[in-house]
Subunit: 795 residues, 2 copies
């Protein structure tokens, strides 16, 4: 490939060029060594079969591009004293990051057994993709990373998340051309309209076109260059292309381009920051680099007559069968020796001083930059007293309060007090979710065109809304991983859009909890609202409570699920979540006017217990109940309480106990989850032999899955959402899914033995009520007044 | 807004213009009526409170844009006799599609109670978003739709899916500017590189910039026009802008533009189709339209002094409180009368002839086009005999076969025999998943630049690979919904990326099953491979078997899950899935060399049963066993069989029954799933009181959730993936999760009562084996030979 570069110039002196190239060769050598060797790491002797790992695992193809960029970033960090981190989108090129951290010295500092000598090198090589060793991807174990990159698509959104509120930080984001085909990545280019050059840092995307995915060419590498240029300008960038394969020419071209881009970034920032307060500079295109280099660059050209370098065959391990095939082993040895290791490592096996001493020191090293170990920088939030936002509750089951609206007032104060450390994220649903009060103290982040009649937009707004759940989640993850706090509010059903991103974040947290050098970061907080029972206007497509099911498959240490029944409980739950660390908290709360049950003091106590008998709604009065009515979630709580009232009115002799669950993980066994109730406590609440009618917010079988090992499980009968829905009234939604008060009361009658004729008559009355409801709702288009106006006190 | 248009011209005569506008006014009138009225549909008398629905639900903002486009598409269909369907990306603008289908006459044909008269109009209005009526979005209930659009992001991928292999079809795809911010939509623009102008139809995207989402401006409406132009050219289009608000001018401009685009499409197709066989025309940019019109166009300008038309306030119901507020009701009445209903509907309330008779007839009506009711066009696949691809099996637990590789040979024949009716989809993982044999008879679809050394690319290839699970799934859905067949192969962990898309498709199927006029379409088939136990090279990020958990939350009628233990069983399972309709089939199968258990005949019988006792692996010999070892999935089956062998060798007196599960839904109760086993059959297999050790492919609690109501459930002990993983050996993965043969055998000893000292000694031996494994694997980096070479016959 002929070298081509938009930016002209050859800024590197011969000495600089030599050092840069030596560093690059050393990193590539270490990368290949990790993939192949378990002995003879410096090739002091010819390669023998026993030096080769029995299982060859790893991804070479992207690796030399990653090391190339790393070398050049090192140069500019030193030259400009930059606070700079890099996100390796192609995180499967793990050997590159590990090699770089080893050359930086960070690796040996964090993992002292991997010493900077031949013995350490052997360990470094052997441990890679080896049982008991380190994973093959850039991972939590990798110094300097906040990005796994096994699942592709989040490099840019993570980078922007890191840059927000870090005005002095530059984030280089390497985007692979495979990743660039993914939806989340494609959407995240538009982050250019959400970054504030004054108070945020800069993101420098480096689109690395090596031309191939696992087995095919990539789209962006195979469209005409003017089409690519057009696309990148269209998302708000000025692209600078560096293309070629000759190392010397490419070093000069990339160095010149990187200098140019950093100058341009500085210019944009200086210009924006020079504008007086209250005014803003117009958005300008940010520079970015398109790096076209061969896949598997500097690797073997071909093997057994088949093209390798510059082709998909170099994606993973380019030469197989190296233990058994002498010829292949010879190709490997020549390849490794082409980096001239004898010039790169001293007699002890440490990197020569020219390499080791050249680049950034201390926290300027990308592998040691504290932004990549965000817990180091974490500052607790200044939290207002949530009690100040308490809703007055005259008595249980009264009032009509929008829980999330109440929360909005509290969040407004959180935003106000933490104006560089807390952001909120939503896919254009913040106000629909009734959190509009936050707009009293901030704007929606917006750095695109405005109209005079626009409302609540601000370049430095702290409420980030884009109609991309992926981008919201990616931004938030990047923000959290670099040591800040946030909240993601989302329509419950569409949280599934980020199921897989949640997986990766939960896996990241699980692993970091096992690493002593990773400091704890703030929890990822989801507020799921506009939930399944409150989507009567959008209908079936918006009705899915399964995100909870998805979440609870992950490690118990990491996940928490809260279903506060009313506004005061929601306040105390959110306060607790904002104080927590290293978790994923899922909070489900409604946005419609709903009954309140607990005063603030009661709510605090209830949330702390996580599960409790509600005395006022029960009439078992300290005795063993005939039946337990359990509930979790605001709508199920309402129907349960109403069912209890019906039973008390019509079957006053029946002893009913009402149990409300806020912290869903209380249901699990002690040994299954840190919040799990002991058997004794569980049995005391749910009895060991009485029927339990459980009204649950989501898919009913989740309750069975959480409680299957409990003594009384065989008597659990769970009602929940059974995938029946449409645009209908809120109460009719519960009827369609048999979660309504009438069906719950009927269930009780059907499950409590020996109730006799009186109960049979009540059952008939309840059945008539259901028929009456159906007729009414289909005629009037709304629920019967006795449903709409129901209060506990009216029972 | 001043009218602006890239294409000049005013092609409409005054008569044409008048009719077009009359149709548009009629559609808008019907849309508003659906949102607001339950009586007095033609405004024969002044609006009274009782004419107004008690609950006002619906989305007005996008609706007039949808009807505008529909009117113009009608014109060109008639003028050019086009076979054309349209995808309404903003599917929440449901009233538009319903209004159009009513004006087409289709609505009354399919729903005879909604007659084309005043009485029918009243029903049409009342039923919308009304209990017992129709949903508020474009939905399965909507004639002419293959797209729900409540969850945004899939308009373009659905459109392309419909266009593939339909050379005479044109698909207009309306993309809302909210939707355009989403990741899946952003990625799907690149479909331009996967469409073949010769054998596929054309997609005409219409990007509708009305400027607002729910509560904010949209990104694409607020970037400079040259930036937008650049972006759209960058994804392979020539954009033509129509911008304005004056109806007459907009009609002329849009008509001219639409004519121009259709001419250009024809030119591209003619040119491509004129090229001789074996050669291809270079890819040319496809035309597209950017339509800028006010949100809530033709609605009230403002209300109570607040801006409505052209602002986010018109997103849903623009005027609230219409029952109680006389002023608001007056605004509504004026608005509705502004469409001059008296000119549009005759004395009986039917659309006047000018409107009703003007546009396409019969199947040319977009609401009646058979492509939108794909089952009408469905042709069964020509399936080869899967027995021809059987793997010879000398005895159970022998051999080393890659199941998906075997399947590849079969799929090659499916592709060969169905070259216009079957496609395969994968996110660049087809060959990694060992399905490479299909490339013997087709290429990877590719209409971008090629290099001489490329392999297996073809403009008309039938294997569709793009590194976007969203795009793959969207294409496949569009392809299925228009009456064709397909298979999506995906890394198991990353299938979660399309969790939410699966939800929507499953909901679509659930609803269509309840509609008599919707004909059954082919099932959506997922092949999940490169599964959790075979990701030892990629590690933790690639290890997640939870897609199954996600799927089984949906309606039992719709979902099936298969875990074939070996290659022959996989063949017969896939054959069955390819014959099935209206389901989602999830098939999990490994790609690594693995033991085979069943001959083809045995496999057919086993798959038909779905669950069975394996006689050869059991030694209960017709008696009640001491323990049941159950397994589901290839790796758990191997470990279970190996555990049975260990027990037979070391505790020969112990009566062990081995049960293998292929069809996971067999575990559910009869009443819970159509495939559920009866209690009697279940108890016969699993006993009513013996310990059951269940080795399961995925998260273990799923088995508890499926079996909690079974008699013997309290004795079920399930092992599965408990979220422990990294890059390690395949056997070590099972050890990390306690699913390995040694732990399973230990579990048996721990759970079968009264085994005595001999068993204690065996337990110690097994514990030593585990220690031996750990030491070996961490030294040698691979599994012990006795593990690697284990065969049932060697026991």
């Amino acid at each position: 490939m002929t070298t081509q570069s938009t930016v002209a110039g050859a800024p590197l002196s011969a000495t600089e060029l030599g050092r840069l190239d030596a560093w690059w060769r050393a990193a590539n050598y270490l990368a290949v060594g990790q993939i192949y060797l378990m002995d003879n790491p410096l090739l002091r002797t010819p390669l023998e079969p026993q030096h080769i790992k029995p299982r060859l695992l790893g991804h070479w193809g992207t690796t030399p591009g990653l090391t190339f960029v790393y070398a050049h970033l090192n140069r500019v960090i030193s030259a400009r004293d930059l606070d700079l981190i890099n996100i390796m989108g192609p995180g499967h090129g793990g050997p590159a990051a590990v090699a770089a951290a080893y050359l930086d010295g960070t690796y040996s500092e964090l993992y002292p057994r991997v010493t900077p000598d031949e013995h350490g090198l052997e360990r470094l090589f052997t441990q890679f993709s080896f049982p008991g060793g380190i994973p093959s991807h850039v991972a939590p174990e990798t110094p300097g990373s906040i990005h796994e990159g096994g699942e592709l698509g989040y490099a840019l959104s993570h980078a922007y998340g890191a840059a927000f509120d870090n005005p002095d930080l530059t984030v280089a984001a390497i985007v692979g051309d495979g990743e660039a085909e993914s939806g989340p990545l494609a959407a995240s280019w538009h982050s250019t309209k959400f970054v504030d050059p004054r108070r945020d840092g800069a993101v420098l995307p480096i689109l690395h076109l090596n031309g191939y995915k696992i087995a095919s060419p990539t789209v962006l590498a195979r469209i005409p260059s003017d089409e690519l240029d057009s696309l990148l300008r269209g998302v708000g960038h000025t692209p600078y292309v560096v293309s070629g394969s000759d190392p010397e020419e490419m070093h000069q071209a990339f160095a010149a381009t990187l200098d140019h881009c950093l100058d341009e970034i500085k210019q944009i920032q200086d210009e924006a920051r020079a504008v007086g307060a209250g005014s803003t500079a117009p958005r300008r295109p940010w520079p970015m680099i398109v790096l076209r280099s061969p896949k598997g660059w500097t690797g073997p050209d071909e093997l057994d007559g088949q093209r390798v370098e510059g082709f998909w065959r170099s994606h993973q391990v380019p030469i197989g069968g190296v233990r058994d095939d002498d010829g292949h082993r010879q190709v490997l040895e020549s390849w490794m020796r082409s980096y001239r290791p004898e010039e790169l490592f001293d007699d002890h096996g440490a990197p020569v001083a020219e390499i080791a001493g050249l680049y950034p020191r201390g926290e300027r090293r990308m592998s040691a930059n504290p932004h990549t170990n965000g817990g180091l920088l974490l500052r607790d939030l200044h939290l207002p007293d949530f009690r100040d936002h308490a809703v007055p509750v005259d008595g249980p089951g009264t009032g009509a309060v929008e829980a999330t609206d109440t929360l909005g007032g509290y969040l407004r104060e959180v935003v106000r007090r933490n104006d560089d450390n807390f952001r909120m994220f939503a896919p254009d649903e913040n106000n629909s979710n009734r959190l509009q009060d936050v707009l009293e103290v901030t704007g929606r982040t917006w750095n695109a065109e405005t109209e005079p009649y626009d409302e609540g937009l601000a370049v430095d707004g702290r409420l980030m809304e884009i109609l991309s759940e992926h981008t919201c989640q990616g931004w938030l993850e990047g923000y959290l991983l670099t040591g800040r706090h946030g909240l993601f509010s989302c329509y419950e059903a569409f949280t599934h859009i980020v199921d897989s991103m949640f997986n990766q974040h939960a896996k990241w947290l699980k692993t970091t909890r096992e690493l002593d050098w990773r400091q704890a970061i703030a929890s990822l907080n989801y507020l799921l609202t506009s939930h399944v029972w409150h989507q009567d206007h959008n209908g079936f497509s918006h009705q899915d409570p399964g995100f909870i099911d998805h979440v609870v498959n992950k490690k118990a240490d990491v996940v928490r699920v809260y279903l506060p029944p009313d506004a005061n409980t929601l306040l105390t739950v959110v306060d607790g979540c904002l104080r927590s660390k290293e978790q994923v908290n899922v909070i489900v709360a409604g946005k419609q006017p709903a009954l309140q049950y607990l005063t603030m003091d009661q709510a605090v106590e209830h949330a702390a217990k996580g599960i409790d008998r509600w005395d006022w709604a029960s009439n078992d009065d300290g005795r063993e109940p005939d039946v337990v009515l359990a509930c979790a979630g605001d709508v199920p709580t309402l129907e349960t309480v109403a069912a209890a009232a019906l039973l008390r009115e019509h079957l006053p002799e029946l002893r009913v106990r009402v149990v409300n669950v806020v912290d869903l993980m209380r249901l699990q066994a002690e040994e299954a989850h840190p919040h799990g109730l002991s058997s004794a406590d569980f049995d005391a609440l749910f009895t060991t032999d009485r029927p339990v009618l459980f009204a649950y917010h989501g898919y009913p079988w989740l309750i069975h899955r959480l409680t299957y090992a409990r003594t009384n499980h065989d008597n659990f009968h769970v009602r929940g959402y059974v995938e029946e829905g449409t645009t209908t009234t809120p109460f009719d939604m519960t009827v369609l899914n048999r979660l309504d008060r009438f069906d719950l009361a009927i269930d009780v009658i059907d499950h409590v033995p020996g109730l006799g004729e009186e109960a049979a008559a009540v059952r008939e009355m309840l059945t008539d009520k259901l028929a009456e409801h159906r007729a009414y709702v289909q005629t009037h288009g709304e629920d019967m007044p006795e449903i709409r106006d129901w209060r506990w006190e009216t029972r």
